[in-house]
């Protein structure tokens, strides 16, 4: 890696991307005769490392064309860091990019058993595949270990989930609200937060010119 400003040729070069990866392309067909996820190298590596009793890959959605190739794995919060560290380091996984971190409130979802599903979209820049990790937590104290020690890019995304859902991330270096202000009383993306009405705005004090 050249230091800034030392490269002799400043113009762009052209990269040669590798073969097409799985986890997004519709071109990958899902074999129907094998257990789901057996074609996915990372899901297989996870099962070998942690045992297939509690690692069971499932498709994010079964649509009218059948199960998709977007593989999801459910991980309990107490083993999350261990699994994430393995996915980041192992040679068959190499998930060096945390593409997305979000949360879903399953309060009114049909047949849901847990409330908050923290969802990690992991991608690999070298092996070009993806995997989805779901970690479910519940009221009254939803806590998930922070993955900022593995991917620094989780920093603001975890702050956003804390801001919008009230899911706390243990071990986060600076867990403050990010889009809303400190002192905002509730978590607006929870399903029990109303879409209509004034909400907490009804109790705001009115500022006059002298208070500026």
């Amino acid at each position: 890696m050249a230091e800034p400003g030392t490269s002799a040729d400043p113009g762009p070069k052209f990269g040669t991307p590798g073969p097409i990866g799985s986890g997004g392309a519709r071109g990958i067909s899902v074999p129907a005769d094998q257990p789901y996820g057996s074609w996915h190298p990372a899901a297989k590596a996870l099962q070998e490392r942690f045992g297939s009793e509690w690692i069971s890959p499932f498709p994010l959605v079964v649509n009218r064309a059948g199960p998709t190739d977007q593989v999801c794995v459910r991980v309990p919060p107490d083993r999350l860091l261990e699994v994430m560290r393995f996915l980041h380091d192992d040679a068959r996984c190499r998930f060096d990019l945390l593409a997305d971190l979000t949360c879903v409130d399953y309060l009114y979802f049909p047949n849901a058993t847990d409330r908050y599903g923290v969802t990690y979209t992991l991608a690999s820049t070298s092996l070009r595949h993806r995997i989805w990790i779901k970690c479910f937590v519940n009221d009254p104290e939803p806590v998930v270990p922070s993955v900022t020690s593995i991917w620094k890019g989780a920093n603001w995304q975890e702050r956003e989930v804390w801001d919008m859902f009230g899911v706390r991330f243990e071990g986060h270096p600076d867990l403050r609200r990010i889009l809303l202000w400190e002192g905002f009383g509730s978590y607006p993306l929870r399903k029990d937060y109303p879409v209509q009405g004034l909400g907490e705005r009804a109790s705001y004090e009115v500022l006059g010119p002298e208070s500026a």
Partner: protein
Amino acid sequence: MTTDQSSQGIQTGQRYTLERDQQHSDRWVLNFGPQHPATHTTLRLVLTLEGERIVDCIPDIGYLHSGFEKMGEVHDINQYVTVTDRMNYLSPVMNNLVWHHAWEKLIGIELTPRCKVIRTIIGELARIQDHVLSAGASALDLGAFTPFLYLFEDREVIYDLLEEISGARYMNSYTRLGGLKADITPEWPAHVKAFLKRMPRTLADCEALLLRNRIFIERLRGIGYISRQDAVNWSWSGPIARASGVVRDLRKDEPYLCFEPNWDGRGSSPVDFKVPVSDMGDCYARFVIRLEEIRQSLHIIEQLIDNIPPGPVNVSPDEKLLLPDKTEVWGSIEGLIHHFELVMWNRGWELPVGEAYGTVESPNGELGFYIVSSGGRSAYRARLRPPSFINYQVFGDLVRGHQISDVVAVLGSLNIIAAELDR
């Protein structure tokens, strides 16, 4: 100064003035924004300065938070497309495209070849539109006004092209579930070809004005450097990651539309283009990569514009996804029932229960929607993966140690769109 101490500076109720740091008497705390010409929209930086050198920088965002994701839970699939226009408003069609791309992945819809080609073309037009503005504006912020005007003239042409097919100039809302709002006009390919002729000339003018300009180069070279490892670890994607040497382009890695092999079912090969990368990782590299990506996008459009396949633009009406043609609605009882089935609030689409992540290579990086459907008429949860938000979190590290005037250069090179940043 540690993060803990400096984060005190953005507690609620702090006054927006220049203040002397309490612990270090030679340091000053300066508020940059939320209203500043170089931030383009509303974002705030709390800078700790030692003379003109930046010791610490804390971004403070949220001034434009509008609850777009909550709105996605009440609007139906085709209504919400108007909201996606307002996210990254420099390239609204790209947001339309990814919203319906994610839904089509969730439902499992295969688009018609004509629709795929038109969507690819407008996607590349959106990329040019975005890069032209971000390159022009980052030059403008550094004092080079002329290239901005040159580039904006061509951007106007793209507005005209999109207006011709969608009817709207700025907020296009052009895509629909399983198709498009309307087919292209017969003259549209000729107008696009006229644009393809004029754009390279403007690019050459800008490069002649900027890339041999010593002042411009010295303002950008070595500024805001990030290594490849850090760029990946901070979840960077898109042109700014490629400027640090990350060879990753979703059009190649996880192809969609016409970037997919055999996209029309008749064995067509994917569209040919190259992925520009650089290993320099500074503001200059990001600027050069954007200009080169405009060229590659022009090349993609060139291949497709003469070969738009004939046939229907939307999926078959039998799939009960799109509103039927108006002549059908007024002329036949089936069409009328079909129309009412879709527009009545207690009917609508039959959606599968599940989740899907659809993503495209947007001008700013990986733009994705994580959609959860509980089978209702609208999404249960519509999460946007916002490239601006994720790219911006490392900003404090990028400007630390630089001069205060370099803040503007780095901000321009990252192309932060506050509407997408705060959503």
